[in-house]
Amino acid sequence: MRPRAAGVYRRAMTTATTQAARVVMDGSAVADALGRVAREIAARHPDGDALALVGVRRGGIPLAARLHGLLIDAGRAGVLVGTVDITLYRDDAATALPNPQIGRSEIPFEVEGRVVILVDDVLYTGRTTRAAIDAVMDYGRPRAIELAVLVDRGHRELPIQADYVGLRVETSRRERVEVRVDPGDASHAVVEVLGPAENTHSHGA
């Protein structure tokens, strides 16, 4: 159907052969987008010492690591990086089955007074971001929280917006957006939109 980029890490087994799939970003497009997001962050925050990137587990972690490297290259040497797991903060946590695969949040620095930029791969309903904001707040009172995402696919269910967006993609709710990142090198990434298996030619709104 389409060539897979070499070295691309599969985040989940897909049945891509039976689904309509469109690649919306290939490896170089992802690299360009992350480079632009890093420049926008650097322009807005001249002082790296007051800045921290927090990747939202799990898709945001390699992207935060990549942005961290780019910001250091851009002279923001003091910028810190951490991760946050939102399982315990989900709005359905008390009614859904327990998730035994909770990951650890690792925020090994003082949040108080710092600008925290949450980094996630896909912004969709906004519920994950809401949970991540609450989780970060329990570590301390940041001066501000901003949001950077690789893909904004729309369909918000909460009043949440991203400050930095790699790419806005028109999707339907029936579609699935998949970001596959090589954890060793986030510039090797691909973003594709997978349609529902039973309807192979439905492409967004």
Partner: protein, 312 residues
Amino acid sequence: MNGSVRHLLGIEDLPARDIVQFLDTAEVFFGVSTRRVRKVPTLRGKTVINLFFEASTRTRTSFEIAGKRLSADVVNISVSTSSVSKGETLLDTVKNLEAMHPDVIVVRHSASGAPHFIARHTRAGVVNAGDGLHEHPTQALLDAFTIRRAKGHLADLVVTISGDIAHSRVARSNALLLTRLGAKVRVCAPRTLLPADMEQYGVEVYDSLGPAVEGADVVMMLRIQHERLTEALIPSTREYARTFGLNRAMLARAKPDAIVMHPGPMNRGVEIDADVADGPRSVILDQVEAGVAVRMAVLYLLAAEAGQSPLA
């Protein structure tokens, strides 16, 4: 857990996979207790009842803090204030609690099997917080958690458990759990405090502390209760301290990096010397800290299951 664990009644029926699941989940909650806000909203709207038919300040407090740090509503019912003293049966007590729709009931009872009985008559998840001479599964989990944090693993470690083995649900749950995860467990006590059937748990049995401690990675001392004196099972606390007490000289026979544990409350100068209990190799207060994290993991994994399935 795959939605399969509704109750935590003992270690005996818990597969190694589920034990590791509890321990791994506890690692996440361990971090919550060191943050600025020591609370997560996960069990908002859930109710946990601590039903204690036996006095236990520390276990009850540990469960209470665990529940509160998960944002559950926690209610403590202790025997002195309950209607049990007015002659109510255990079944009536459970039926009354059931009518208030709790999500988890934490039970301590002097009768072995009481939590199992309660589990058959409630939709809530039931946690055994110690039943008679039978089991104390959360103590075994927190001990394993503490050992794993100190040593990095459990398999192949030599763990010596010394004290009143015959009357200790802690020793029993620990022997079951540690052997299941591949540790080599030694139990040690005077002959009068050793059950006859201890070998069935796959442990080595000693009636002298020196050989039991020799080369151990972990030395766990258990409390000697004073009623053992009146039952004439030990001659005197001084005699017990001399032959079965852990002092610095005795600890020197263990591995140089051996850790010292005690589930509390301690009899300083009887089963353990103060300078060992407070020494650099003691992890006794780490056990208390681990207790909250482990009980948060247990409540978390049980609470969402609770109330979903009908009575058996």
